[in-house]
Symmetry: D2
Subunit: 282 residues, 4 copies
């Protein structure tokens, strides 16, 4: 269990930001919201309109005294209203934005990877990846980001390696990371705004834990990571530093926040399991 | 100038394949088709219906005695007919397939990256990337690939690093490479079929050379690559070995065929240019 | 020019650390030392004995009220004395360590890469890379790192891509980064200590600017980086967050701190240079 | 079990090469030697003088009618004599060279990674990695490689990710791969000679299978690789195409020949193991 940071260092003092995707207190975005406020930021929360029914974002909004503006990430006008409303309510341009949005339509419909429905795949990419471009296009057009601002999207290592159950979401995350690099280039040249993705350990969120076999999957990653899996709270703390002025020259990167999983090839615990099995030679 | 391989080694003797995208003799796919036939393969050529007007695929079809079946890569029924027709005409299952398909709708419409139209982006991804999944879904369902078969798609290093003029095609190639990895996993488990992408140097094809500033771009890559840019013909020869039995355990890889560009940080020629410029310090 | 962080956030309040390599006020390590102290840490400075003659580390020692303990990084007994002395003077185990050490013997002797002298190469690796393992072996044996401590070494992208003038130092940095991963695995399992490398932009340090053609090189990187080259001060600020509790689940990573250089393939400024040159086709 | 290529395609007809490291018929290099000769090449075999006692290289020398020249890879004069002797006996410059050399002194002495002896580590690097530079320096000075020749060294994915039992050999392979990139740059500029590393699956060679827990390790990799582990013979076939004219624009690359291991994050077989274990949450 990762110990908690003692908050109140004012890492984000006077900064303004938007946090997408805080559905309930298991959400990474929920922890990011709490952490940013604890670090001195003022934030706006946003979520899909449907979340009004299924989530607790309104409770968080009250807890943090943070305005809540619903927005459908597939609609430019919603994102425009969100960004405009955020600047109006926060009283200025934005210093940071967290994109924590994803939806796998084929996964949800239990359609196997080799039989993907392409209308659903378009929806998956539209919601999970193109939404990030759409958001940045609005931020760009409205000149809504301060000089040296920071934009982060959450991603997963399936963009680099195959985790079969993750299915089409691997494609969505690969696309998301590419959007971060490409738009990061342009936003950097425009006014030094940074764009990065944070590639987080498997996490027991509502989205994550709904996946079939998530427990086994979580356990595997935990055994493979020298520090164990990173918690939602520790991810939030890392987001805070990537939003802060302490990481101003980091951009267009995919930052692994995973307890060392990405660079571990095997763990002795797994080796032990293997040695108890029948040997197969090629 | 890369010297040519002396053909006739029968690398692909008795093998059957489909080659997408041979528009004219500047196309990489054109060279792949010629090379595969020279190496003993029987092939079917395919292209978009519109290519019947603007391309010379029919001439190549005659030259190589290779059936030509038009197919729209956005339509499952076209791909099904293509795969079925190919097996019928070639007399058996397929050993290899080359996907060389791409179209940037926003690029074509001269829409800047920061202002992408999302309907166009959906089309770009549908044609350039999802087409690869669609193709493999058909090959899978029809059980059309032989054991240890090989599927290759052509890609570009913009999937890893930003080349601003390449615009949304960076996203298309990132998605394409992810599809290769994901489907490669499943096809490998199914019947040892390999799926890889080949990341080729900038090449003077009809598609490539139409891009604004392509000459400068080509020149830059040529100076940065210790071996110079790879030609379409040398790419075809590399495709032949990746189709052949000599690379049977290579799968889910992105293979750079670029004269060393990808791992070169700077070249003395570029350094010299820089040293003649005014020094800027941060 | 990157604006400075307003310090005093107590990111490292109550933490103890050792900083290697603060030779003079152009050194990255010099800025790291100042930043860590400003953030509330107590530190020990260390440098090679020869630095007593050529550097200003003693001045920094006075300025920061930080003990200075000379140590030859090629000698276990020196490193043992350094670590013991640091714990004694700081009053406890260590929270963080910065390794900023490098020396290219063949480079210094102006021996071309293709003619490397292997005795010199052994020295280069011994000083620049094996020193990092040696340091961690001492920290490990003496159980000198606190739970969740953080160890960082500075590196350069030549470990991934070829910059010909960087010569054998590319090998030294590749070895250094491998040591970080390997020892990071073990230290993570032992007591959650993190080990990372930070891959910094070219910087006008004494070591850097002595290299032939450094100006051209610096200028090239500056043009290729959307945010420009990262300064020594901004690197120090990034080190501070990687030392802090805010990045506790990040380990075994190579973190690019380079204004976006690593993921930029070409910049329009360079393209413009190219377009004024004669076109060469392969 | 990977099926064998039917040989006799004359991929290497008329080419001359040197093969290091064919100790016995389990060696990858042994298979490379057989394959190259079957493909029409003339070769010289080389091994460490000590191999005369412990290996069967002389038997292979007779079988293939290939001269055997012993050489200590840590001695420039031995490598000079080897290269000169090879050109003399083969009647011309060299088209290809395989470096398959490695020795972990600390591993052999059973010294744990966190307690490495640095004299041994220097020896490990000298034998396993610097030997590759030394070899290329001799080839360069004697102008012994033909235009578009090909040099390959065998490596392992421990250069990228941690496999704890592989210990210091991870560092040796990281250094080896860096040497390939750096010297590859220079050799490419000089006369288009390519330098690559091939990163092979765990293989039951004398060196490999002596490692503690190799069976478990092999089994793990086999389960994680969609195609299973690559055999020594299939590696030999891949070496043949990288030596051939069919891959002339591929240089400075690390080529994974591993059945898909490198890009697979988890396999269902492993997932199943995990699901039978107690769940641990961070």
């Amino acid at each position: 269990m990762t110990p908690s940071v003692s908050m109140g260092n004012n890492l984000l003092k006077g900064k303004r930001g938007i946090i997408f995707g805080a559905l309930n207190d298991a959400s990474i975005a929920w922890k990011v919201a709490e952490t940013c406020v604890a670090e001195g930021a003022q934030i706006v929360l946003t979520n899909a309109p449907v979340a009004a029914r299924v989530g607790q974002t309104e409770a968080l909004s009250k807890q943090l005294n943070a305005p809540l503006i619903y927005a459908d990430v597939t609609k430019m006008e919603d994102l425009d209203a969100l960004v405009q409303g955020s600047m109006d309510q926060l009283g200025g341009k934005l210093d940071f934005v967290l994109h924590s949005v994803g939806m796998g339509m084929n996964v949800r419909k239990k359609i196997p990877y080799t039989e993907l429905n392409y209308d659903y795949l378009h929806q998956t990419l539209d919601i999970s990846s193109m939404s990030f471009h759409r958001l940045m296009q609005i931020l760009w057009k409205k000149d809504a980001m301060v000089e040296w601002g920071s934009i982060v999207a959450l991603t997963y290592i399936a963009a680099q390696r195959v985790f079969p159950d993750y299915s089409e979401m691997a494609e969505a995350k690969a696309l998301l990371e590419s959007v971060a690099r490409s738009f990061g280039y342009h936003f950097g040249k425009k006014n030094h705004v940074r764009v990065n993705t944070i590639s987080q350990s498997p996490t027991y969120t509502t989205a994550g834990s709904g996946v079939a076999g998530f427990d086994a999957f979580y356990n595997y990653a935990n055994q493979m990571s020298p520090l164990g899996n990173a918690s939602a709270q520790s991810c939030a703390e890392y987001c805070a530093v990537i939003f802060s002025d302490y990481s101003r020259m980091v951009t267009m990167q995919n930052l692994f926040h995973d307890g060392g999983f990405s660079n571990t090839g095997i763990s002795p615990e797994l080796m032990e399991n293997m040695s108890n099995q029948e040997l197969r030679k090629s």
